[in-house]
């Protein structure tokens, strides 16, 4: 549907668009520049000397940056996988059924998305001491479930509310076992939800700081912790390099799943109905 828009409004839109584009990229620029700088002092607008040494350091074995990268990926993948496993049945229950107490259950699942981690993790930390889960990777993966699981359930519930169980009944009546029905009928139908939910869950885990800091005790040094340390230590060039590495997986995931994030997709529609 076209609307008669004056030239004034159209140029306003274009201008605002340009401003938004600049402003969205802006904070990332100094990080990028720093990673290629060899000393960048006030009042220089650009570094006088360029060098790859920050990157060399980051990629080297001694710096631990790559180890941290793999560790963070592993933790986030594990948390995401567990969330998917647990989130699919929960989402099915919430999306397809009405039952007494459903609103309370929904609220309980929603609560971790609103209550900040710091309010919960202190209590967990004191218990994990006795359970021996502190300073372990497993402990960190477990606490990451707290923020990631709700998003997964939310997205899956949205998908399941648009899902027609008649397809499964049809498959069963044609002779398919429950497992085969799930694999051939249910799974393909809910796949967009798994992808979108998984993306959100991964990103939520990827950017966790305080949970990892407290439960990991500094021993489980994920990328954000490493980044924080270098930033506060004033090593801006290495910070820049780590920062660039840190945002990379998120961008890759976004590009791979771009089509699922359009406003029309049922999964995001469910998410947008929060």
């Amino acid at each position: 549907m076209s609307n008669k828009e004056s030239l004034g409004i159209r140029s306003f839109r274009a201008l605002t668009g340009a401003f938004l584009i600049t402003w969205l990229i802006l904070p990332l620029i100094p990080l990028a520049i720093w990673s290629f700088a060899k000393g960048w002092f006030y009042p220089d607008l650009l570094p006088r000397n360029w060098s790859l040494r920050a990157w060399e350091y980051a990629m080297s074995d001694t710096s631990g940056v790559l180890d941290s990268l793999w560790l963070t990926i592993w933790i986030s993948l594990a948390a995401t996988a567990l969330s998917i496993l647990v989130g699919i049945p929960a989402g099915r229950a919430l999306g397809m059924y009405k039952f007494k107490g459903k609103e309370i259950v929904e609220l309980m699942i929603l609560a971790p998305t609103i209550v900040p981690g710091i309010a919960v993790v202190l209590g967990i930390h004191s218990v994990f001491i006795s359970l021996g889960l502190n300073n372990t990777i497993h402990g960190v993966i477990l606490v990451h479930l707290i923020p990631t699981l709700p998003y997964m359930v939310l997205v899956m519930s949205g998908i399941f509310s648009n899902y027609d169980p008649a397809f499964e009944a049809q498959a069963r009546s044609l002779g398919a076992s429950p497992l085969k029905t799930f694999w051939y009928v249910t799974l393909p139908a809910i796949r967009p939800g798994i992808i979108v939910g998984g993306l959100f869950a991964f990103l939520v885990s990827w950017s966790q700081y305080i949970l990892t800091l407290l439960i990991g005790g500094g021993r489980v040094e994920t990328l954000p912790l490493l980044l924080f340390n270098f930033a506060t230590a004033g090593r801006n060039d290495i910070t820049g390099a780590i920062g660039m590495i840190y945002i990379l997986p998120g961008i890759i995931i976004l590009l791979l799943t771009a089509k699922h994030l359009s406003g029309r997709s049922g999964a995001v529609g469910g998410f947008g109905q929060i």
Binding site: G87, V115, G123, L145, G158, L203
Partner: protein, 285 residues
């Protein structure tokens, strides 16, 4: 297998995790804030931690600062996000790029943005250097303190940077699912563009904006790493203060930290109340 049993089994794993980890963590924190921990022999709950916290001037300063950060960030982000969504509804040159960058922004962790803000707005940062280049200031100290400052301007800027796309994407999806027909009706009944927005579109998108704002407020109130990097030391944001107390060498400070955590939890419970009360939609189904 009855439906009830089915539902129970489907929900069991997720509910187990949430009840044990999330509510369990809250419960333990609550108990410890009252110095009540039978497992290690503390069987007399008392209010000493709360008394210490509520008589501490630093706590009130911290709370006020954190509230200011959360409130200001949320309001600015919500308003600008609605504007951004209105902008992105129609096509214009560069719309695809803005859409892409919005979504890209969602994947960039807060910490990276915060560090970027630091490099941009600190007194020896890029903007300060630009100012010096144009001879607007003489030296770093002349550049206004936007980070580590008492008004938390840098922190708010960083939150606004992240939350406009977050709220914006939700509002935009909302607008697209509502469609344009209601506005067509209003226009044909004689409403101007502004009247249509104010009386028709805004009420329709309001529940979505409110839900998103509640999430943003809670997040910006309780986040640790951004004020840790961009904030002043005194007063520090409440999560930073709580962490400091918890990791204090003096173990007696731990219950105080728990008390602060409970205060944060109570505030978010209030947010949940607003969310439930005013939001029109629940999880679908």
């Amino acid at each position: 297998m009855s439906d009830r049993t089915k539902i129970f089994l489907l929900l069991l794993p997720a509910m187990f995790i949430i009840v044990v980890l999330f509510f369990g963590g809250l419960a333990i924190g609550l108990m410890r804030s009252f110095n009540y921990m039978p497992v290690i022999g503390l069987t007399d709950p008392d209010f000493s931690a709360y008394i210490a916290v509520f008589t501490d001037r630093e706590f009130y300063l911290s709370f006020a600062l954190t509230f200011h950060i959360a409130f200001t960030s949320t309001v600015i982000s919500s308003v600008l996000a609605i504007g951004a969504a209105l902008l992105l509804r129609r096509s214009f040159i560069g719309r695809g790029m803005v859409n892409f960058l919005f979504q890209l922004n969602l994947t960039v962790p807060h910490l990276v943005g915060a560090i970027g803000m630091l490099y941009l707005f600190s007194q020896s940062g890029s903007f300060a250097r630009l100012a010096a280049e144009f001879e607007l200031i003489a030296g770093p100290a002349d550049f206004p303190a936007l980070v580590f400052d008492p008004f938390a301007i840098g922190i708010i800027l960083q939150y606004v940077w992240k939350e406009i796309p977050f709220i914006g994407v939700i509002v935009l999806a909302n607008m697209q699912s509502i469609g344009e027909d209601y506005e067509s009706v209003a226009r044909s009944l004689g409403a101007s563009k502004w009247q249509t927005f104010r009386h028709v579109l805004l009420p329709l998108i309001f529940p979505g904006v409110l839900s998103a704002s509640v999430m943003v407020f809670a997040f910006t109130f309780g986040a640790y790493e951004i004020p840790a990097i961009l904030g002043a030391n005194f007063p520090a944001a409440l999560p930073v203060l709580a962490y400091r107390k918890y990791t204090d060498v003096d173990l007696a400070a731990r219950p105080e930290a728990m008390a602060m955590a409970i205060v944060i939890a109570l505030l978010s419970a209030l947010m949940i109340y607003f969310y439930v009360r005013y939001s029109r939609r629940r999880i679908r189904g």
